[in-house]
């Protein structure tokens, strides 16, 4: 496990989110170091996706602060956070269905990578090359000219990941990237995520499939009913009595 550096990559302090009278998240403290593979688990409705939405700017947290690489994210909207290096995939894939796969990937390249480096823009040729490269990394190169409706479930998940990775993130939230997939398909997605982590991307995996989470994560965070109840090495975290209670009942 990488050692904690002076400034953590992501630092969440006292984060809270309500929907009307319903408290979705309360007092969330979370620190993520660069290079980590963090598993985020919890029963349905425990606030995992809400947390990701708050961190990525899709939702606004009423209380608490979020700092990314030492910079406060408060008040920044989603695309500004993406440009800082925070990417996500969606729980239900949200491809741009009227565009072919290449154009799906071109959008983050044009709007995030090129917006980030205003001085040296990628040329049209460089973008085309990068699109092909990103698609071939997830074995979608032969479908580059197809539209998302021609893809299978697992391919859709891969497109979702490729589009997130195209933003050249330093931190990637993979929100249930494997739900509903077969065993071999899960292995495929895990391999993709592992490779991305080797390339230096810090990854937060939100997942229900425990075998996948356990084999992937270097650290595990457990949310139950909007509270963080465990944070530590995966094997220790799942043996935590509170976690057992939440998952198995008393």
């Amino acid at each position: 496990m990488p050692e904690e550096t002076a400034t953590p990559l992501l630092e969440v302090k006292g984060l809270g989110k309500r929907f009307g009278g319903f408290v979705a998240l309360e007092g969330i403290e979370l620190t993520i170091a660069k290079g980590e593979r963090l598993g985020l688990i919890g029963p349905n409705g425990s606030g995992k996706s809400t947390l990701v939405n708050c961190l990525c700017g899709t939702l606004h947290n009423e209380t608490g602060t979020v700092a990314f690489a030492g910079k406060s994210l408060n008040g920044l909207i989603a695309h500004e956070r993406t440009r800082l290096g925070l990417a996500r995939s969606f729980q239900l894939p949200k491809p741009f269905h009227s565009l072919n796969l290449i154009d799906n990937i071109r959008i983050p390249l044009l709007y995030t990578v090129n917006a980030r480096h205003r001085q040296h823009h990628l040329s049209a040729a460089a973008i085309a090359e990068r699109c092909e490269e990103l698609l071939s990394h997830v074995n979608l190169a032969d479908k580059a000219r197809r539209r998302p409706r021609d893809l299978t479930q697992v391919e859709m998940r891969k497109l979702e990941l490729a589009r997130a990775v195209a933003t050249q993130p330093t931190l990637l939230f993979a929100d249930e990237a494997m739900a509903g997939l077969s065993h071999s398909e899960i292995e495929e997605i895990l391999a993709v995520l592992m490779r991305l982590n080797d390339e230096g991307i810090t990854i937060v995996l939100i997942e229900h499939i425990m075998s996948a989470v356990m084999s992937f994560s270097t650290r595990l965070v457990v949310l139950v009913a909007g509270h963080k109840i465990a944070d530590g090495l995966p094997q220790e975290a799942i043996r935590n009595p509170e976690v057992e209670k939440a998952y198995l009942g008393e």
């Binding site: 899709t58 949200k94 741009f96 044009l110 995030t112 589009r163």
Partner: protein, 333 residues
């Protein structure tokens, strides 16, 4: 085709169209009818930038169009007013300047409306734009300076530029506007901006996550779309010479500018052009009683549009362009 080549071809087509018409057709009616069809090319193309590319349905075409028309009325009435109140003499405004001003006014209305309403999605945005139309019409009806509900007479200059009559001049200007509108639409389609619009149309959350500044892009879209509609409306007072709120805010503008892109096809610049030429011409023919033999009264004009719209939405939701594309694909397979 490269962008500048397309622009060059487009300008050449517009020029040839005007010159050949002027040389071969003497009948004034052709220019009247042609003006209306070209006006719809501009309106449908402008509507499609927001409605087709960005995915926001605008039922307020009448508002943007009339705002352009009434900004021309204000500019027309300004020199006599200044002379009477302050004894200032300013020359009468030429029509191209009025068109530019109309574009700016409606562009700003687009920007403002966009800012207030773009948090609304789908049908709620459509309703808001319809409301805008009603609000603006009420303002004009109660504004005596521009004629109020009685309407206003606008006197054409005695001499038309470019030789020929004034209607020929208006026809030439509207051709130019159509060229500009189609050129802009096509340039957007092939650009980074157009790709961003498509991303918004497909999924706004995913667009934001990919780094697309969705609010800014939607404002750009409403502004461009509104500005082009205003430019199309600016020459209207000189076309009708007697302008009333009921005529300029006519629901037919809103219905047509939605129906034409839907029937032509909303994914490409050519769709609204095809839709506008087809429906515009059909309606012109209907107006002069071309279908009287079929026992179709001229007032059946909007009925034709309505029936075609329903038919296309059910049978060919991607419009004529979509039909041709799928037919070509079948040819390949």
């Amino acid at each position: 085709m490269r962008n500048w080549v397309f622009w060059a071809v487009l300008v050449a087509v517009g020029l040839v169209f005007v010159v050949v018409s002027r040389l071969t057709i003497a009948n004034d009616y052709f220019y009247f009818a042609g003006y209306v069809v070209l006006e719809y090319v501009v309106l449908a193309t402008a509507w499609n930038i927001l409605g087709g590319y960005t995915g926001y349905t605008n039922f307020g075409t009448g508002a943007f169009f009339a705002a352009g028309a009434y900004s021309s009325v204000v500019l027309f009435k300004l020199p006599p007013l200044l002379l009477a109140t302050f004894n200032w003499t300013i020359p009468a405004m030429p029509l191209p300047v009025m068109i530019a001003v109309g574009g700016v006014v409606s562009g700003l209305i687009g920007l403002g409306t966009g800012y207030l309403t773009l948090r609304l999605r789908g049908v709620f945005f459509a309703i808001a734009t319809l409301a805008l139309s009603i609000v603006l019409q009420t303002l004009i009806v109660n504004w005596a300076f521009v004629g109020g509900s009685r309407g206003v007479f606008v006197i054409r200059p005695a001499l038309a530029p470019l030789g020929g009559g004034y209607i020929q001049y208006l026809f030439s200007l509207m051709t130019l506007l159509a060229v500009i509108a189609v050129g802009i639409a096509r340039s957007i389609e092939r650009s980074r901006l157009g790709l961003g619009f498509h991303a918004i149309r497909d999924d706004e959350l995913a667009a934001e996550a990919a780094g697309v500044p969705t609010l800014r892009l939607k404002l750009i879209s409403t502004t461009i779309s509104g500005a082009l509609m205003g430019m199309a409306g600016a020459p209207l007072p000189y076309f009708v010479t007697y302008l009333t709120p009921t005529a300029s805010f006519d629901l037919a503008y809103a219905v047509n500018s939605v129906a034409m892109p839907v029937i032509g096809g909303m994914t490409s610049w050519i769709g609204p052009v095809i839709g506008a030429i087809l429906l515009g011409t059909l309606q012109q023919l209907g107006t002069v009683g071309f279908f009287l033999d079929l026992k179709l009264d001229p007032t059946f004009n909007l009925l034709i549009v309505g029936l075609l719209l329903i038919g296309f939405v059910i049978i060919a939701p991607n419009g004529i362009v979509g039909l041709v594309q799928s037919w070509l694909r079948r040819g390949e397979a």
